[in-house]
Symmetry: C2
Subunit: 305 residues, 2 copies
């Protein structure tokens, strides 16, 4: 199969709990097209994964079998096929994708393993691929990666390996509190007030144990003092990220930090770290996912060509 004659050489897939993202890729790792749907792992029964994938990528398929490399919750127990975790410490760049049988002969699907840690018990699925992509760019990196999201990860990297990591439910708590709790009446949907955010970071870092009290105070100040929805959103975000920073302090204190994720959320983390005197570098998560999957694509191309 000649790369020059084929529009899509392989397909990169980031398949999380709520979203399915696919990218048509060239053999050199270049991006040629992209597509997204709401067919996240969370809403799919086991036999619904292949049809959901086909709905999204069918325009990119031809007569030849198409390699599809997928990472994320698609490899979990509730996913398309359970792919066992690799145990940390481990090199994310060396993780081997697992072939997954399909009904449609045009597909050759491979799913990346996640990474687990025994003590303290922790797991990741998807972030290991972004980290592999990051380490492909910066193989000599020694320091800490912060990957904010629904379940934010702090990861210590040394000598090309994930040495240890910790997960925080900050993103999911933010979403539940902003959208489902009594706070929903007074929290803005979009922008947050930057001053309220950094003030909440600082307050919460100094007394992190006051979390549940501070949360209700957002409601009380809205009722009594007319706290604006933007300030309430800033307070909520700053309170939760501040509590996370208090717990993750051993990870970031005096370290070189790179924040990997969606640009807007990453900027909040960078602002929070900056308020503590740290300068973090920001990297967009999407390109790193593709770079990590491209590394895995190279290994399967070698073994099958």
């Amino acid at each position: 199969m000649s790369g020059a004659a084929t529009y899509t050489d392989w397909i990169a897939v980031d398949w999380g709990t709520t979203r399915l993202r696919a990218w048509a890729m060239g053999g050199d790792g270049s991006l040629r097209a992209e597509a997204t749907s709401d067919d996240g792992m969370g809403g799919l029964a086991r036999d619904a994964f292949e049809p959901a994938l086909l709905r999204l990528i069918e325009p990119w398929l031809g007569a030849q079998p198409m390699p599809v490399l997928a990472c994320g919750m698609v490899g979990s127990r509730q996913g398309w096929a359970e792919v066992p975790y690799a145990a940390a410490p481990c090199a994310p760049g060396g993780l081997q994708p697992t072939p997954t049988p399909t009904n449609d002969a045009r597909l050759r699907v491979f799913i990346m393993p996640g990474v687990s840690q025994a003590r303290p018990a922790d797991v990741m699925r998807g972030e290991e691929t972004q980290i592999a992509g990051f380490l492909a760019e910066e193989p000599g990196f020694d320091g800490v990666l912060c990957l904010p999201g629904t379940h934010t990860k702090w990861v210590q990297i040394s000598a090309g390996e994930i040495v240890s990591f910790q997960t925080f439910m900050t993103g999911e708590m933010f979403q539940l509190l902003a959208e489902k709790s009594v706070l929903r009446h007074g929290v803005a949907k979009g922008d947050l007030d930057a001053e309220a955010f950094t003030e909440a970071i600082s307050d919460t870092l100094s007394k992190p144990e006051h979390l549940a009290r501070r949360l209700f105070a957002i409601r009380a100040q809205a009722v009594l003092d007319g706290l604006t929805p933007e300030a309430a959103r800033g307070r909520l975000s700053g309170t939760l990220i501040g509590a996370e920073l208090a717990a993750a302090k051993p990870y970031w204190l005096g370290q070189s930090i790179v924040v990997i994720g969606a640009p807007r959320l990453s900027a909040h983390y960078a602002a929070a770290l900056e308020s503590q005197g740290l300068t973090a570098r920001l990297k967009d998560g999407g390109p790193l996912t593709r770079a990590g999957l491209h590394r895995a694509y190279a290994t399967i191309s070698e073994t099958t060509s």
Copy 2:
């Protein structure tokens, strides 16, 4: 109107965000009947309150106007009629209910005010009535009340007054995390494991800033180590109540504590306090609400008879 000839002398109502509870009462404060519905304040438009109340209490009404004394979120901005807060410090036993106009001439509705605190900003609606009921029984009480619920209150009482109070979103966080977050897959619906609960209380009290990490660890241990759903429920409850105790320490340390609320939840708080060497007394919340409303009924009977 002679009390002896009438089955119901007045009606006590506890009208919260999610539930409506009504009790048919004798003039002496005795309970004669009760009824409950899901017509909580949260689901009702302003003109839907009177019909919802009538649906529940119509069997208790006669030809004479019936005094109805209500407390809780029914008096909030989103309620039937907004009744201003009384500012703490204040004596809950002296709070005056506000008459609320009705369309049905058989009703004479009165709504209790809530209590607010300026610094730190905080509010309560409903608990002040339970506290009034408690102080009617124990007028000389000096110490701390803990009222667990969706929004748990810690209240310092002295000389018959609410001196100060703090609200924690513990109950609402527990419900959101147990039912709506990734933890829902592994958290039992009913009983919790008592050992996992007290261990989590102790862990969280010693490092309260680790909350968001500990929460995800419940998920990770379920995936990796087969943590049972009952142990997961114990860990979740213990982690959140432990974080609350860490923040509320100035309230309970070396104090005489009374826990007022639903018996099952109150027992969890008592167990948590016991693990810290404190013996708390337990009081069921329902009878205290009725006692508090009975005190208010006495004031309106005086002014109108």
